[in-house]
Symmetry: D2
Subunit: 326 residues, 4 copies
């Protein structure tokens, strides 16, 4: 077991609410164990540019409740090349950094995995993404907040849908996974939920809307993941309009509000536990794993297996959605 | 002075948070004065279709905090024709209705004005619109809530803008007036605010963004009213991108979330005062006026003058926006 | 297996956000399966007084997002007596009710258990309590909302604590269990968390506060469950003040705000799944169990075992709290 | 007219949401006019202890949305003595400070007034207090946020009051003025509102509660300002309980949550305008005035007249409260 003395923490890829809570946990747990903790600005880009600074306990005071990330984040093409990673490693060595915690998604883990193979520097990944589409964990940092933000927005839209008897097609985030769509759709009593994983025939939706109309159920919400098989909200609305011109159909794309805001309690607790566990893992000589929470217990997954995971929906859930909105 | 005995209340045009609080105030003040109060469903359309129902004190319990409108709303082309209004009047007569309170915007007031001219039925208008663009009042029901919803959303977007050093072009509602853009822009420290009233040369914005970049101010927010002279957010972003390809520019259109949600305290108090004053006005024999609040006092404006009013911005405000965001 | 045709749903004991979502799920799932569904008002009291009404799909429209319970709730001493339950049973028979879903806490389950033993009427319990202290489920309906309400309030208090360098002792709900205190405390970076389950020597807290003072950490938050071993917030503050008179110590008791408000996404999804599963259980001939969710799967627990469960904290968590707040 | 070159800004007395927005406006307006701007920590106490630091444009980035005050605040007895003020003045002179902006309440203005008389240093006051009880302005920084926080909390309490048919006596802030009680009470449909300004005979309230009971109106909310003539919530509840033992009466004291949280749009705009106007005033040679907003226009009031102002309620409002809650 290699002794760790100086660790670095960075946030990488798309930002997610709760990343600050994770950074705080890494810093304070590290300091408690008498490690020196460094923050890398702008993800891997900062590693390449040597934007690496020491962090103290105070540096992370009063950030647990903040959205965004104080370490900032960026995407970095250079790091995809072995040469880029070599440069990054050199910078880490200048600070004697012998352990890294990367908070991000599967792309970020892939980078960490390659680096750890090439340079024998232990890397721990924390799943920070609103999309919750990472294998090896039940939850990702930011998912619960993003869903609640979407729910709050859809509740507001329902007020106006209801006042006017309108159909709203609402697009939520989720290019590859339908978790946000599914959870926000169930939570707001959406009549239909369209995801990247499940082919719903638009004909069925149209038929259903027409049935609703006969039953005088005139307010309808369709929640669409941006990567739904049938297309985004604009495409879905176009199809509905052409088949149901009598419906007053509107589109709202929730967009980037889903990435920001103060994290929910669940995301703060999750991020705190994961950040704490990341440092423990480095201290225990573990390396090149992602910290996940499975059945409420910390679980390690090798970084190379911590890849995007599609939702595998129990068909019972889809049945439930239909029944509850009826 | 004509004695009033049976009054009707309706919500018309676009919905706005606080309409329910106004309906509640009309109903309860009417009942207190021993009037019979009727609710007309779906605005003028319900008048034509005789969707008119008696309301009790209990009918409006627990609605002061709800967005939308329990009376629903709609637009109604038939009411623009004299024939349509005659039919509506007949329905009102079936219920012996001798006074009307219309909560809506300038189009709704125009309808009320015509009706009152043609049939000598006293009408009182209450300004219910998130756009605040009505002459004769400092505030309209729904404006404060809509602005706060926009501010809350932009705060969230700033979190992610800040994490990535991005420029966000954010579109808020306001086809004809820039009040929501102006207030939400100042409140969120937006670098630029684009409204239907003020021509800002996009060249100036681009120059300013380039200056900011030199100063390492990399996070920028531009708030654009949907009816801004330079176009909506998509148009503005297109122009910025073509001149500043190095900036990471994103667009968010807040859309219909701005119409819903639980009203703010200010909107609830405003709606309560206006609803109360509307019944008092009918009882005092006043007719065909809009109830406004000017300098915190109730003021009557003849319905035909309660038209859309553009914002007349003190140039000092524009100067302030620029200075505070610098 | 007994065929079920007419079911009743009631909410009992303390109310919790998400109860309406559960009622909605029971009603719609029942109707989907062609059952008649009745609502019992005011819990068992309404059973005794025959306040039992048929519910339609429309009766539960637009309530998924509402706090409180449309069926109202009450405590009912008479139901503790066999005579009372006999009277209740008679009323159920008048409506031919042959299945019951009770949403409430352990006291409510105990009532259901007795009734089912005495009269052979199948009862299904759903855990609805903000305290999360029920055996047989990982989550209870209302817990996540209550924690987030507490977190939102404590975040606000931290603003003012920080402005004045104050110590706040904040009391959250939890007479018998410390879950709300623990989760809200971790989420807000509280320096100390005091629960009914864990004896913390107040001397240790005082020593720690004095250490913080020397380190110039002047803002401190202590989160206290109302049933903490050391007493409520007032008692704890009294002890702290007498030992640390130099600290500017204040008390806030969050109180009943923790019971209300629009439920979070997690509570809505949980309540929807549980309500759906309750009707499925009745249809499958299951009876006298509580529906729980364990490791994200529906699990049945016999009603007589669905009792209050104390928190069994991993000592690692307590260590983490201390380290992260340091 | 004396030329100003170096100005200081401080927050003093109780904190209020929006103070940060005001600080930001003072700093950026000052810098725009090429002044040096200093921040004084902890109000007058920091003046005495020379805790005075230069502020840059960046120092106030991303604070417009934050509750609390980055400059912190404190009460300072020494400053009440001439000797203390002399010491403070000396410290100001060390930094060549020739203009001061004090954000606080009437006590803070009194200090500024004395100092300006004794040392001929121009002082501008900005009304920052949640209580809105300052003469010379229609609004104070923080009032709108505090009211909306109270309204949000009371809405939540109404959910649970409604579920149980309870009477809640809810105490809001306002030791000397009833504005928060009045506005939050109207906004939440409270049955009674008790303030420091208006003697309501508790007998009348009890009689009214008994009437409501006969009418089957079982849910009641009484909003009590902490300084109400009849006492705080505990006292009022005690009186109600002894006369109406059949009512299920509960007490909630909202407490310090009313001081924190992200400011509303109105408070941010107000604070921005006032901070901007304060620097303009100093530049124009104005001194020893408080900046107020009256009828939406900036207005100066001599500091010695910017004292606590009781609410002068139009009796019509009190009548309205009673009618709308009936």
């Amino acid at each position: 077991m290699k002794k760790v003395s100086n660790i670095a923490v960075l946030t990488s890829g798309g930002d997610a609410p709760g990343m600050n809570a994770a950074v705080r946990a890494v810093v304070r747990t590290g300091i408690y164990h008498q490690l020196n903790v460094y923050g890398v600005m702008y993800g891997y880009r900062g590693m390449l540019k040597n934007e690496i600074f020491p962090l103290e306990s105070k540096s992370v005071a009063n950030i647990i409740q903040r959205g965004g990330t104080i370490l900032k984040t960026a995407r970095c093409k250079e790091f995809y090349e072995a040469e880029g990673r070599a440069k990054a490693y050199e910078n880490l060595k200048k600070h004697n950094i012998d352990g890294i915690v990367v908070i991000g998604g599967d792309g970020s883990f892939n980078g960490a995995y390659k680096m750890s193979k090439e340079f024998d520097i232990p890397c721990i990944g924390l799943p920070g993404t609103i999309d919750k589409d990472i294998a090896g964990t039940d939850f990702t940092i930011g998912f619960d907040t993003a869903v609640n933000t979407a729910v709050d927005a859809i509740d507001k839209i329902r007020d106006t849908a209801d006042a006017h008897d309108r159909l709203f097609v609402i697009e939520v985030m989720g290019r590859d996974a339908g978790y946000i769509a599914l959870h926000s759709g169930i939570s707001t009593g959406a009549e239909h939920i369209m995801t990247p994983e499940h082919l719903i025939d638009v004909k069925d939706i149209i038929e259903d809307l027409q049935t609703n109309e006969r039953r005088k159920k005139l307010v309808n919400i369709i929640v669409v993941a941006e990567g739904s098989i049938a297309g985004g909200a604009e495409e879905v609305a176009r199809m509905v309009k052409s088949s149901c011109p009598q419906l007053d159909t509107r589109v709202t794309i929730l967009g980037h509000i889903q990435r920001g805001g103060s994290p929910t309690s669940q995301d703060r607790v999750l991020a705190s536990r994961m950040g704490y566990a990341a440092v423990e893992a480095l201290l225990n000589g573990t390396s090149n794993v992602m910290i996940g929470i499975v059945n409420n217990k910390i679980q390690y997954t090798p970084l190379e297996q911590a890849i995007k995971a599609k939702e595998h929906l129990d068909p019972e859930w889809l049945k439930m959605v239909k029944i509850l909105a009826s």
